[in-house]
């Protein structure tokens, strides 16, 4: 298991160990893009937006079947697959080559997501510190 690391570093590690994985975007709990291996900003936005729509669509389908929300999904096409994994409020979306090793890709995406350290919360100001500053 990898230790906590920078998001870009984790994605680089992911694409290094999993050559089937192509474009990757990590989305934070607030919906903002945390990191990606894609340079073009428009493409990153399109992937993040697509991930949101895929996740919402998947939840709607599962709800229609009386099931809870989707934790992960694979949309397989002849051109490749789109994987989406949600964990702890964060989401990772990745495109792959056609006919990927599904179990391995899910495992690698989860490992990547877990390896990314949580953004540090700003230190809380205390009354004492505020008074001293005044």
């Amino acid at each position: 298991m990898l230790g906590p690391m920078d998001a870009h570093e984790a994605i680089a590690e992911l694409t290094d160990i999993s050559p089937q994985v192509r474009d990757v975007v990590v989305i934070g709990a607030d919906g903002t893009v945390v990191a990606s291996n894609v340079d073009a900003e428009a493409r990153v936005r399109a992937l993040a937006d697509g991930a949101r729509r895929l996740g919402e669509g998947a939840d709607e389908v599962r709800a229609a079947h009386g099931l809870g929300p989707a934790a992960q999904l694979e949309a397989a096409t002849v051109a490749g697959s789109v994987f989406l994994v949600r964990e702890g409020g964060r989401t990772i979306v990745a495109t792959t080559t056609p006919e990927p090793t599904v179990g391995l890709v899910f495992y690698d995406l989860k490992t990547c997501l877990r390896a990314i350290e949580e953004p540090k919360k700003p230190a809380r100001r205390t009354r004492k510190a505020d008074d001293a500053a005044a």
Binding site: L67, A71, A75, G80
Partner: protein, 67 residues
């Protein structure tokens, strides 16, 4: 009919059957689908051709298109 011709015919038939099974299996694997997993690992698989899969596959095609 000479026995040799019968054996050749049977081998040819078996070969074509095996070939067609392989092609069918490969075609089935390449069929488009969406698999939705819950946190407990249970899966709901949507085969291509259903409206539910169509909507999600359209998004997937969009994301895979300009790669």
């Amino acid at each position: 009919m000479p026995p040799r011709k019968v054996v050749t015919g049977m081998l040819l038939a078996a070969g074509s059957l095996a070939g067609s099974l392989l092609v069918r299996r490969r075609a089935a694997r390449r069929r488009e689908r969406v698999d939705l997993y819950a946190e407990d690992g249970s899966m709901l698989s949507l085969a291509d051709g259903t409206p539910e899969a169509g909507r999600l596959l359209a998004i997937a095609h969009e994301l895979l298109g300009p790669a």
